[in-house]
């Protein structure tokens, strides 16, 4: 009699692979989330988002190591730095580029990425730093004992944080005056001005929020693999996440990240041996390409409705 012949250990192995992909995906999501916020409120594709995560993590480590601050104080300090940074970006960059083409704003953010990387290097140094703010490390005993699944505590922690962040942002966007003002600015600058919304304030707020999201991403990545300059490269992985989830959707960024995380891990483990491995490196981009061909607005992106 033919059977599918799955053994229990194979099933657990699959779950383990998928779960670890899921958790890596959450990390991508955190970076993508910062992109979405700025894109939603200003239509700017912020190339510097990855570097902002790096910069935030560097600042955090710097505060802890050089000034001996406890973790909580260093986090508050870093949040203050990210808000100050948002304020400076508005004052020195965005203010002077009002009504410019999106491509010009995009180029400005490329410049911003180099500036931030340079400042980070000069102020905090370019060596790899250990970031330990007391997030639990190691395998989760609970999952190992009860389900025989190996999963890092850090990854569970990151997933929970991302979840809280999304709920928080969703309420903020949907239910508050400032959230409505953010969406209003994204839709129509002139109309927003006419009801007394200040574009500058909104920009400072949205860059601050995405700076704080970058800090969260920086903390998670830094705790996992140390704070190093290659951190800014994860921004590249956020790109396919955005294409998948839609540039304007907060839930899209999260789910897009998870799909890519799981997809690339599962593909690597199960298809890798047949094509010589390294699928993980290109899987996300191929998936993004397929989406660009068949569903360019992504899974959750807003289809632009134009009445003619």
């Amino acid at each position: 009699m033919p059977t599918w012949g799955f053994r229990m250990s194979e099933v657990t192995f699959f779950i383990e692979v998928a779960l670890s992909g899921l958790m890596a995906g959450v990390m991508y999501s955190l970076v993508a989330l910062g992109f979405v916020l700025i894109f939603k409120a200003s239509g700017i594709f912020n190339f510097a988002q990855g570097v902002m995560a790096l910069f935030a993590a560097l600042t955090l480590v710097g505060f802890m190591e050089k000034f001996g601050m406890p973790a909580w104080l260093a986090i508050i300090g870093t949040i203050a730095v990210m808000i100050a940074l948002a304020w400076l970006i508005e004052k020195l960059m965005l203010r002077h580029l009002v009504n410019q083409e999106p491509i010009i704003l995009f180029m400005a953010t490329i410049g911003l990425a180099y500036v931030l990387e340079g400042i980070g290097d000069i102020v905090w140094g370019s060596d790899v730093k250990v970031l330990d703010i007391g997030i639990p490390q190691g395998a989760s005993d609970y999952m190992l004992d009860n389900f025989n699944i190996y999963i890092e505590k850090l990854e569970i922690f990151a997933a929970a944080t991302a979840g809280i962040l999304v709920v928080f942002l969703a309420i903020f966007f949907q239910k508050t005056r400032i959230g409505r003002a953010l969406r209003a600015v994204a839709d129509d600058h002139q109309a927003a001005l006419s009801v007394g919304i200040s574009l500058r304030t909104i920009w400072v707020i949205v860059w601050s929020v995405s700076g704080i999201v970058a800090l969260v991403a920086g903390i998670m990545w830094g705790s996992k693999s140390g704070v190093q300059f290659s951190l800014s490269l994860i921004a590249l992985k956020a790109l396919p996440v955005l294409i998948l989830g839609g540039f304007t959707s907060v839930p899209g960024a999260i789910i897009g990240g998870m799909i890519i995380g799981v997809g690339e891990k599962v593909a690597e483990v199960y298809l890798g041996p047949f094509v010589g491995g390294a699928i993980e490196n290109w899987f996300a981009y191929m998936l993004a390409l397929a989406f660009l061909l068949f569903r360019p607005q992504g899974l959750f992106g807003e289809r632009i409705i134009e009445r003619v």
Binding site: R177, I178, R180, R183, A184, Q190, S194
Partner: protein, 262 residues
């Protein structure tokens, strides 16, 4: 119709000139609007009517002239100052927040009425929540007034044109303006929709005492609604006066028809 009486001058523009490069859009325009008045600005296409509204609410900054609003004289208005001092407006090409619901669009009109800071808002508790509810009630009253309960939760991008215009009026009203600028509120409407809109404009003026500056092409509507009319043509001021005076002004007739009236 009983004799209408008006208060003091709420807005006066004086010798306004505006040009973009070599193009002179407004040339030495002066007129005033009295409290409680419905004041129309008319003229052929390209006369500078919308530019005039844009000067009043601060989108355009004129090179010459002054704007006096509620006793305060400025060289130029800023959009935020205009909004916070009680000027609200609608747009010729509807400028709604298309992704948002009717209710949310109208709530954005309450933006300046809401004061709690970002920290309360972020937490969505305490004063922020109370304020949200109070302003929500105000928005619901406007929805009742404009008779758009049925589309409260619908994203406005999907609504028919006439309703979008009505939602846009609602957003402007939500700010409880003292001066309401309406840029062609009836453009593209059928006669029934025009009647509805006319009724809303009269009711707003009557019930809330809101002063209204109106740009409109439908002469029947303009003559019915307006207390006084100013006429622009190619950026120049052709006439200013009561509807009947304007109607019989030869320069106005020529500008509109290009030939003498019979």
């Amino acid at each position: 119709m009983s004799e209408r009486t008006f208060g003091d001058t709420i807005l006066a523009v004086k010798n306004i000139s505006l040009s973009f490069g070599v193009m002179k859009v407004l040339d030495n325009i002066s007129f005033d609007i009295k409290q409680g008045e419905i004041r129309s600005i008319i003229g052929p296409n390209g006369a500078g009517k919308s530019s005039m509204l844009n000067v009043i609410n601060g989108f355009y900054h004129p090179q010459e002239g002054s704007i006096t609003f509620k006793g305060e004289t400025r060289k130029r208005m800023a959009p935020h100052a205009a909004a916070s001092h009680g000027i609200a407006r609608t747009f010729q090409n509807i400028a709604l927040f298309k992704g948002m619901s009717t209710l949310d669009n109208i709530m954005t009109g309450r933006n300046l009425k809401m004061k709690t800071n970002i920290f309360w808002q972020a937490l969505h508790i305490g004063p922020a929540r109370r304020e949200e509810l109070e302003n929500r009630e105000a928005a619901e009253r406007i929805i009742d007034f404009l008779d758009i309960q049925a589309i409260r939760k619908k994203p406005v991008g999907k609504l028919p044109y006439g309703l979008q215009k009505r939602v846009e009026l609602g957003r402007a009203l939500a700010a409880e303006p003292e001066l309401l600028l309406l840029d062609e509120p009836m453009a593209g409407m059928n006669s029934e929709e025009k009647e509805d809109m006319s009724r809303f404009i009269i009711d707003v003026n009557d019930e809330f005492g809101t002063t209204i500056a109106l740009i409109e092409h439908d002469m029947g509507v303009v003559m019915d609604l307006s207390d006084r009319v100013v006429v622009l043509d190619y950026g120049k001021q052709l006439a200013d006066g009561l509807p009947d005076e304007v109607r019989s002004n030869q320069a106005v007739i020529d500008a509109y028809l290009g030939v003498p009236h019979e």
